[in-house]
Symmetry: C2
């Protein structure tokens, strides 16, 4: 505790120096001496977090993009039809699946755009701005991908099991291929949501004061 | 503000005295000089954030509890029946609604348990531990309440509109009261999710370094 107290005082000293403009030339030497011991291991740790953040974003791109493409290209037409049933299933028949495709496409696009900010965090581990910006958007993406995955999961569950109370019949006996692909897409979106949660927690840890 | 600052410094001084045994006796004077200008207005700002955090939690309790109770007590039996249809609707007929009730009950319980930690943040605005703990659990609750609301919303949409592709019929013509109450509960859960997102953003701002 004693050594911490003294470094804290040493760090605050150069700040006071730089505010006074004339004496600022001597300050950097003091900074380098005091920060070599206390600041840089922390910066290294934060850089590690930023690199992990970048890798997680690449994984999330994979998950969100796979979910989007899987759901978006799913289209099954059965080789028979009657006059009562329309035996063709695609994602845009169900609004929940359409929302799923749009939400995951937005998440994928956001992840691509967030990569430069993640790189800035690697280069400048102590920068607060990019981390805070990414954290806020990441939380929104947690909500978006979770909502998409949960809505699609509710419909997929219904398609698999049906519901006797509401008199909704299971359609997965007919549309086996459709149901399997949609279920896979839902899993992909839940994985993306979990990675976003992890990204927010990492950013919060990197942002906290010591 | 100035009188507040000096009292805060007087409180921190004896702490340093008791911890630092021999050489720390001279340090508190230096600390008080440097912090008088920079640290304590920030503490006031952080206390304001903590109080706002507490109020938001109370609002979220209201929203989550209202959603839970509305959905949990919804039970409509129609005054006629046939041998094909079961004209009784309650939340446990549909797994998505059961999940909704459980998730919102968990969110309400968590919010009650989080109030003491929020109070700790008000009393000690610079404490990092409680804020970080609340932030991590808040993110999980964002995902939980959003998932519950989205899954229930997908089913409610289906109940209102039906789906011709899957041959699922709208049931809200019969169960008008049921559908109205369920829709209200979904709105309550989305409000709770939005408040959780706001809480995470607030915590992140309060946690960041300056």
């Amino acid at each position: 505790m004693n050594s911490n107290d003294t470094t804290a005082i040493h760090i605050s000293e150069p700040k006071a120096h730089t505010k006074g403009k004339a004496a600022a030339a001597a300050a950097p030497a003091v900074v380098s001496v005091t920060t070599k011991a206390s600041q840089h291991p922390q910066a290294g740790w934060k850089r590690g977090v930023a690199i992990f953040d970048f890798i997680l974003r690449l994984c999330a791109i994979g998950a969100a993009l796979a979910a989007t493409i899987t759901m978006g290209t799913t289209d099954q037409t059965l080789p028979f039809f009657t006059q009562f049933f329309q035996f063709q299933a695609s994602y845009d028949d169900l609004p929940a699946f359409t929302f799923f495709v749009i939400a995951n496409a937005i998440a994928s696009g956001y992840l691509f755009l967030s990569l430069p900010f993640s790189i800035v965090s690697i280069v400048r581990p102590n920068a607060v701005g990019p981390r805070l910006l990414l954290l806020i958007f990441d939380i929104v993406m947690v909500a978006l991908t979770t909502a998409a995955a949960a809505a699609a999961a509710a419909i997929v569950y219904l398609a698999h099991n049906g519901n006797s109370s509401a008199n909704w019949f299971a359609i997965c006996q007919q549309f086996t291929d459709f149901c399997q692909r949609v279920s896979g897409a839902v899993v992909g979106s839940f994985i993306a949501a979990a990675i976003f949660i992890l990204l927010v927690v990492l950013s919060a840890f990197a942002l906290r004061k010591h």
